[in-house]
Symmetry: C2
Subunit: 454 residues, 2 copies
């Protein structure tokens, strides 16, 4: 069963920061100004120290999607740990008059000392799932809103697209190659999220450097065009990268290129890549041609504007791997999730033992939220298939205790659930395996699990 708050995963011994160029020394300014002005006003009104619980959840999935995928949790933990205001930042806030002197002083000593519970990375979710709960004083929790949402909204959107593409690919390898289609650092996070969602490798060197994701890549059309003939280019590439390399065969004429490729590299040629044209037709033709040339083991990689539907449409084609760019890093039509970070409970005073009571914005235009800190459980039927997502406040019913979804991520300000990325990737596979079969449908539909509030 999934980790529950009582059963913590072992801490990963790796440092949270493996270095530049991707990690940033402080995350404290990835923050909307109003978090700081609220802090200032609360410090002044004496409400800043009231114990509070904020929750991250979404009111809906993107239209037609059947499940969401939690991704970015590991990055959230790094971001919380590195949320510190250094002198240059404080000088900026002071010079711009963002907050007053007492608030600057408070910020100078800030570090998060509260608790965070949440769905572990790779887990699936549904509308209303309490994905993350941040508990502490109002002041220390409110500051984290923007950066937590940035990370989860972006990474989960990419992971959801990746997961659907992985379903469509049905076991064939998927290469993430969307770096050029999104912000250069979003690209690194996208590689990471794609890996969680089921991708196998990335073209992005920074993602390899930062997260240890396997990197791949051989050549582009420019390399062929640089040489006087396609044969020259193929020869140069094989001389440098070996016959196991992947030759790009659609710069001029595909059939001619395939012939030249096998002549140059021999039948042990690793793969050919097709980046344009009618991929279904071309894959069949190229496979036939390769087989006729004795290159039965040479694989075919396709990489042209793929999304989950295009991947699915190639299920019967002799394709050995898919490279996906734009549609992956832009969430296949849904580049962000609609996760929000809401105050759901708070104490009436700053007395240490004051009980938390539920609070909620009144419904208007669909923007209501449910008060109270929530637990969530996903009970299974006798066949091991999830039946529903049960969400509630108060004590967890004993029969659901073993099916809880939230794990403890941060305790008293210390990260207690750092884990290798591989673990999140495996967790996603395990979570998918427990969903009803309809989760595997690419067609539009309702969320595959109903969320029941008790």
């Amino acid at each position: 069963m999934l980790d529950s708050p009582g059963a913590l995963p072992p801490e990963d011994p790796r440092q949270p920061e493996t270095g530049l160029p991707v990690a940033v020394p402080s995350t404290a300014l990835f923050t909307d100004q109003y978090e700081l002005t609220m802090l200032q006003a609360a410090l002044r009104s004496g409400t800043a120290e009231r114990r509070s619980a904020f929750e991250v959840f979404t009111r809906r999935l993107p239209e037609g999607r059947r499940y969401g995928v939690v991704a970015g949790t590991g990055r959230v933990l790094d971001a919380v740990e590195n949320f510190r205001f250094d002198d240059r930042m404080l000088t900026f806030l002071s010079e711009q008059g963002v907050v007053d002197g007492p608030t600057l002083e408070w910020l100078a000593g800030y570090r998060f000392r509260g608790d965070i519970l949440g769905y572990p990375e790779g887990e699936v979710y549904f509308p209303g799932s309490p994905l993350l709960r941040v508990e502490g004083t109002f002041a220390e929790c409110v500051l984290l809103e923007t950066v937590i949402l940035s990370i989860l909204n972006h990474d989960s959107a990419v992971a959801a697209a990746a997961s659907r593409m992985a379903v469509a690919a049905a076991g064939r390898p998927l290469i993430e190659m969307g770096a050029r289609r999104t912000h250069e650092l979003a690209a690194v996070a996208a590689s990471r999220a794609a890996y969680v969602g089921g991708f196998n490798s990335t073209s992005d060197l920074a993602a390899g450097f930062r997260y240890g994701i396997p990197t791949v890549g051989t050549s582009a059309h420019a390399f062929t065009l640089l040489h006087d003939t396609e044969r020259d280019a193929f020869s140069a590439q094989v001389a440098s990268l070996g016959s196991g390399t992947t030759l790009l065969v659609d710069t001029y004429d595909v059939a001619e290129a395939v012939r030249t490729a096998v002549e140059v590299a021999g039948p042990e040629l690793g793969a050919v890549r097709i980046d344009s044209g009618d991929l279904l037709l071309l894959a069949h033709r190229v496979r036939q041609q390769l087989d006729d040339l004795g290159a039965e083991k040479t694989r075919i990689v396709v990489t042209s504007d793929l999304d989950e539907y295009a991947i699915a449409s190639l299920a019967a084609a002799p394709v050995d791997a898919y490279g996906v760019g734009t549609q992956l890093v832009t969430g296949s039509g849904h580049p962000t999730c609609s996760m929000v970070y809401k105050l759901v409970a708070r104490a009436d005073s700053d007395e240490p033992g004051a009980p938390l009571r539920p609070v909620a914005k009144r419904s208007m235009g669909g923007k209501s939220s449910l008060g109270g800190a929530k637990w969530a459980a996903r009970p299974l039927d006798s066949a091991g298939v999830a039946e529903s997502e049960v969400v509630g406040t108060g004590p967890v019913p004993p029969e659901l205790a073993d099916h809880q979804l939230q794990v403890r991520l941060v305790r008293g300000g210390s990260v207690v659930a750092r884990e290798p990325l591989e673990t999140a990737r495996e967790r996603h596979l395990a979570a998918m395996a427990r969903l009803p079969m309809s989760a595997m449908q690419l067609s539009r539909g309702e969320p595959v699990l109903p969320v029941e509030h008790v």
Copy 2:
């Protein structure tokens, strides 16, 4: 007229790096692995030093869009300047076997020493516009592909959405507040691009810190919920931020909140913010109520799921400012541009004086490109309105010389066109003012200028 290669804008005396947490010390790993394997193969085959010209262009605008907006150029210049491989990166590339020893040695000494020409930031563009030309050896130019495209594709997508929203807002101020809906660093670049496209301020403190964009923000629903009553919350905020602050009035009942707000802050209350509900109806009601309460100067800010169409639909409503999040940072349906970086010309040998000759991939599935390094000009009619975008190779016809769009950005590896962000913002306004009126239509249509190839 626009800056032409002969008339360089003065260099901005500011340092390219104003500091953390947003700048990164090296951009060299924001690179697809194949750039490096192509380099290795070219070094080995003796083609690496052939002089080459790469061009950035797009084959199409997003469906129905009438113009594109160049943004990110300033970030590209920083990225090119900071494209260096340090020891840790080289160790990574070595340990992972990405490239061989001679290539690592070459990379260790890398810095770009070529030339870059391009459309200046804020300029508009059309399908086929030669947005950027990178000239140098194949080796030094090919490495920059991924990071240049990442930046331009992301930033230009946001700037285009911003520009349309600015058209819709017709002079009313626009606040960028989408940080929580996109990657935390993409958010900073998005603020920057939105500013170029016509936004006035941002909620994102990192964007203020890094780029000097004005930051704004006061409070969220959590602040109201933290307090025992709405009145307590408003009093706390006014006590801390003054009566010129913006009070959020839709946590419970809007009419009651507006009454309380004016009671607490007095008629000098700066603004009220409405974040949910029927904004058109509410804006009229709240305006009437404020006026009845004597708060005629209190402004109304609306911030609920706005895009350019929602903004336009509020044109007749008494709204004083718009806050835009999700739809801005995700490019209002088009989160990336389809810009590509293509080798368009190269020498036949690595002799220093060898002439460049045009090269191009053969057309297949619409992915053809036009060979040769291109110039672009946008002649005006007698009323000062642009007539067409003329793109050509070879010498520029004398009558078009004064209407050229490209400026020199980098000469011999040195950035020569750094400029304040304000300049790009003004350039965008000037470029828009020269487009035919149909550019201001939000409805779907064709690009407003035809691109003529000569």
